[in-house]
């Protein structure tokens, strides 16, 4: 190993949202002199929009810093990790680019489920973990309780745990010293052919796809022709460099270093997170381990509000996909909603982000159907088909077995809410696998649960039943046989395919009733009675009627106050705009998501 390589420390910060990662990272940048206080404010303003709005970090990136210990200079690379359960795989690739991780825990909150899951992941990948209790400037906090969490859950000794405050800057120097002392230098063979791990990539209008990489073996230089293992794409490097935190171009990146490669490729599909970069002329024999293509878990139909917008939606999805390798979509036709797309997402949050970007960045007004998981259907003829749209479920007589994805779910919750959480989980076809106490105040529950139950408002319910204190993490466990049926919805006698759902047989009747009564509330009264029915295999299991509208008039003329009247009408009009004509009936957008909310306790 070269002297320079010995002085590199690659690390990341694992923390739950709001535990102070951003604040502490800014302090670290400031303390290492990477940016001064004024730049920091500017930079913070720049990043604020995206990150603050979403409350999470969507795109990981790395910052290179200098830090001196005992007169010796070191190169520190702080690699950012996405902070949401939907981006587990991206997190794992960021971790794979590091030798160490700072585990940051807010002293007033304690460790959260996702943080713990990521910490376990880091341990599995052999990272050196530095446990840090943050926000110690807060008054009336119980350090011992958090120490106990860290001891119990991850086996730390009290003397390994550092204390920091991103706010006051306390403990930041000690933390940096600890990174140098405890995190090992990157191993990796300088003389071997290039192998660099892509831990993030984004599309840039001027440079094409920019890959954020950690050079594991060998080195890479401007002008090199690179080759990507998974996609077999090749590209000539136009530019490479590091971030500090703005881009600094370099001639080459050496073994152990972290930086970016401007590939000129046109879409992130070609340059995927987890893939390995090597050189076209001097190829490595094997890619780095751990690559897997992005796998969508949650599916929903996206339809333009007005059919004129179909080309705009298609165009927007194409553009989004340039920058989001985990988004997949294909054309789909619904009798109720017309032409649209069936899209696959990593999870519910990913779906929300895409929906929001379609609205905000591309201005296409869409209707999303209720999210569904992917079912695997074994037919009587021995074939296996994947069904991601309930309406496409084959005829029941041809089905041998239906299998659905199950998740390993971890919940951390204050002990006084354990009962409420268990009650919630019970209604979700779950099996309790394990329950442990992290400390006298907090319990960790592990469940196995069908994903279809997780995506139907489980998270919201969990939060509300624990007064916001429970935290959640989940990962795929496998596929299991499911006793499910297709629940159809008929509005005014006409089946509305976009409202079909696959539900567990035992609960079909109950769900049918809840759905129909929800729809009765959501579908506004029309000029005629509108019957709403839920049916299984043609048999009606629930029925309600939206009574005809009899009166809608503003009778009084307020001394010629037309403005007031217009405002009232405009409100009604705005309501109508969000409606979709299905046959003769106007159905509001919310109705297509009603399926999501049938789990709510009857009020």
């Amino acid at each position: 190993m070269t002297e320079a390589q010995e002085r590199i420390r690659n690390f990341c910060v694992i923390a739950h949202v709001d535990h102070g990662k951003t604040t502490l990272s800014d302090r670290i940048l400031e303390t290492t002199g990477t940016v001064n206080a004024r730049q920091m404010r500017d930079q913070m303003l720049d990043n604020m929009d995206l990150e603050r709005e979403k409350g999470i970090t969507i795109k990981a990136r790395a910052v290179r810093m200098a830090w001196t210990v005992a007169g010796e200079p070191y190169e520190l690379n702080l690699i950012d990790t996405p902070g949401h359960v939907d981006f587990n795989y991206e997190v794992s690739r960021s971790l794979a680019a590091c030798e160490g991780a700072v585990l940051l825990v807010d002293v007033s909150q304690g460790i959260e489920a996702q943080t713990l899951a990521n910490a376990y992941l880091a341990v599995e990948q052999g990272l050196e973990i530095i446990p840090v209790i943050n926000k110690v400037d807060l008054p009336n906090v119980d350090l011992d309780l958090v120490r106990e969490d860290l001891r119990k859950a991850l086996g730390f000794r009290d003397d390994e745990i550092l204390l920091t405050s991103g706010k006051s800057g306390l403990g930041v120097r000690e933390l940096l010293d600890a990174v140098v002392a405890r995190v090992p230098a990157p191993t990796g063979a300088r003389a071997a052919p290039l192998r660099a791990l892509i831990f993030d990539s984004h599309y840039d209008q001027f440079r094409g796809v920019v890959a954020h990489v950690r050079v594991v073996d060998g080195e890479v230089a401007v002008g090199d022709r690179i080759r990507l293992f998974a996609t077999d794409k090749e590209a000539d490097l136009l530019e490479l460099g590091t971030f500090a935190p703005d881009p600094r171009t370099r001639d080459r990146l050496l073994t152990g270093e972290v930086g970016y490669l401007a590939t000129g490729l046109k879409t992130v599909q070609d340059c995927r997170v987890g893939d390995t970069v090597t050189l076209a002329i001097r190829r490595a024999l094997e890619p780095l381990p751990g690559y897997r293509p992005a796998k969508p878990m949650v599916f929903a139909g996206l339809y333009p509000q007005s059919s004129d917008d179909h080309p705009a939606l298609k165009d927007a999805l194409e553009k989004l996909k340039l920058n989001d390798a985990s988004l997949i979509y294909e054309p789909e036709v619904s009798q109720a909603l017309g032409f649209g797309f069936r899209c696959g997402f990593l999870g519910l949050l990913h779906l929300e982000i895409v929906q929001e970007r379609l609205d905000r960045e591309y201005g296409v007004d869409i209707i999303a159907t209720a999210p569904s998981v992917e079912y695997r259907v074994l037919t009587t003829r021995g074939a296996e088909v994947a069904i991601d749209n309930p309406a496409m479920l084959p005829d029941l007589t041809t089905i041998e077995e239906i299998r659905e994805p199950w998740m390993k779910v971890t919940i951390i919750v204050p002990t006084q809410h354990v009962g409420a959480v268990m009650e919630l989980a019970q209604g979700k076809r779950s099996a309790l696998a394990e329950m442990t106490y992290l400390d006298p105040t907090r319990a960790m529950l592990r469940y196995e649960m069908p994903l279809s139950e997780v995506i139907v408002d489980f998270y919201d319910q969990l939060k509300s039943r624990s007064q916001g204190y429970a935290s959640l993490d989940y990962e795929l466990e496998g596929y299991r046989a499911a006793d499910v049926v297709l629940l159809d919805v008929l509005v005014a006698g006409q089946p509305v395919d976009a409202l079909s759902t696959i539900v567990h047989r035992e609960r079909a009747q109950h769900t049918g009733r809840a759905l129909v009564s929800k729809l009765r509330e959501l579908i506004p009264r029309q000029q005629f009675d509108v019957p709403i029915q839920a049916a299984i295999g043609g048999k009606v299991v629930a029925r309600e009627t939206v009574k005809a509208l009899r009166k809608n008039v503003i009778a009084k003329c307020y001394g010629g106050d037309i403005t007031r009247k217009r405002k009232l009408l405009e409100k009604q009009k705005a309501g109508k705009k969000r409606m979709k004509m299905v046959g003769q009936v106007e159905i509001p957008q919310e109705a297509f998501l009603a399926v999501l909310r049938t789990g709510e306790a009857p009020s």
């Binding site: 000029q527 009574k547 509208l549 009899r550 009166k551 809608n552 008039v553 503003i554 009778a555 009084k556 003329c557 307020y558 001394g559 010629g560 106050d561 037309i562 403005t563 009247k565 217009r566 009232l568 009408l569 405009e570 009604q572 009009k573 109508k576």
Partner: protein, 385 residues
């Protein structure tokens, strides 16, 4: 100049009726004198700015204008005579039963009143209690007689759809109005606005929460839409048989007794509204004054003028207002004023509503069907751009 219409707002009432959305204030308000000063000042200022136009109709509304003292009525009359060329064809004053004594009636006669609009609301004790009104059923007939005895035309307001009202009770109310032989009737379904209105600020201690609670409780026990639609159809039938023409969504008149002043609103004519919460439509622009008394007074004292309304869609507004009338709208004639895109839009919207049985066409003229009258918003909402 063709002349304008004039609306004068007198906000004062003996008590606040809990369903009422108008700009009102207690008759004993400490601001009463300052309000009248402001009103007189506004009249003078507007008269001068508009070049002392001819006033063709006057409507003194409220509030309860009949509560004004004779000298206050006289002061108002003088202010108007100075500011405008007052040669009106119709002068209406709103009155509540049991407020019009001899002296006040004389003062209004001197003012030039030709028409009395009485807030009867119901002839049933149960109805008046359900509506929170303070007068008695027996107060209405004497008030009607008093007006007629001095040669005034009389209009009555009735409200239907109050909690517990039966069809029989409504028929009795209609019958009572018919047998009094009034010239004009306004029948409104009870509509309860549940969002806060500015005018509550004028009532010391009469806070919004109390009102909101009353309204929510009343709304919850009102007959349902279907029942209200039935009551509305009853009014149409009974009044038609008694010789009243259903000439606007909520208004009925004996031949020759339609309200000229209100017709100006419905035909998008020109009118000036003075006083708190009053609306104006002059030279194609809509404007208004604040409903809260202190805000109104301050505006006038600082000579700030009326507040311009956010521009609406004139074509849609005109179509909406005209459709309220039995004469409806002649789309061929209106098209010239609106331009092609707007008139094509209005026509398209009306065709859609016709398909739903809410509009009837005769040639280029569109009118609301009986079903369209009670579902008028369903028609109007489609007219908006």
């Amino acid at each position: 100049m063709r002349g304008i219409s004039l609306y004068v707002h007198i906000p004062f009432c003996a008590a606040r009726c809990p369903y009422c959305d108008f700009a009102t204030a207690p008759a004993t308000s400490a601001l009463r004198a300052r309000y009248l000063d402001a009103l007189v000042a506004e009249i003078a200022r507007e008269g001068a700015l508009l070049g002392r136009p001819r006033v063709r109709t006057i409507y003194v509304g409220g509030g309860t204008p009949s509560l004004l003292e004779p000298d206050e009525v006289g002061r108002l009359a003088r202010a108007l005579a100075e500011a405008f060329t007052v040669r009106p064809r119709e002068v209406t004053v709103e009155a509540n039963p049991a407020t019009l004594d001899r002296a006040r009636l004389e003062a209004w006669r001197a003012f030039g009143v030709t028409r009395l609009s009485l807030g009867a609301q119901s002839f049933s004790g149960r109805g008046l209690r359900a509506l929170g009104r303070t007068h008695q059923p027996d107060d209405v007939a004497p008030a009607v007689d008093a007006g007629r005895s001095v040669g005034l035309r009389v209009s009555l307001d009735l409200i239907f759809g109050w909690p517990g009202q039966t069809p029989a009770e409504w028929r009795a109310d209609l019958g009572a109005a018919i047998s009094l032989g009034v010239d004009h009737l306004s029948c409104y379904p009870l509509e309860l606005e549940l969002t806060r209105e500015d005018a509550v600020a004028n009532w010391p201690g009469g806070g919004w929460p109390t009102l909101a609670r009353w309204r929510a409780a009343t709304a919850a026990t009102q007959p349902d839409d279907r029942a209200i639609a039935v009551l509305y159809a009853m009014a149409h039938r009974h009044l038609a048989r008694a010789g009243y023409r259903h000439y606007e969504i909520a208004n009925w008149a004996r031949p020759g007794s339609r309200s000229l002043h209100n017709a100006v609103y419905w035909r998008s004519g020109e009118w000036l509204g003075v006083g708190a919460g009053a609306h104006s439509h002059l030279a194609g622009a809509r404007s208004h004054q604040p409903a809260a008394l202190p805000a109104y007074i301050e505006r006038v004292e600082r000579a700030l003028g009326r507040i311009a309304d956010a521009a609406g869609d004139p074509a849609a507004e005109e179509a909406m207002l005209r459709l309220r009338l039995d004469t409806g709208i002649d789309i061929g004639r209106s098209a010239a004023r609106w331009g092609t895109p707007a008139s094509a839009r209005i026509r398209g919207a009306l065709v859609t509503s016709a398909r739903r049985g809410l509009i009837r066409w005769s040639g280029e003229r569109a009118t609301l069907t009986p079903r369209g009258r009670i579902l008028a918003n369903e028609v109007f909402v489609r007219l908006l751009p």
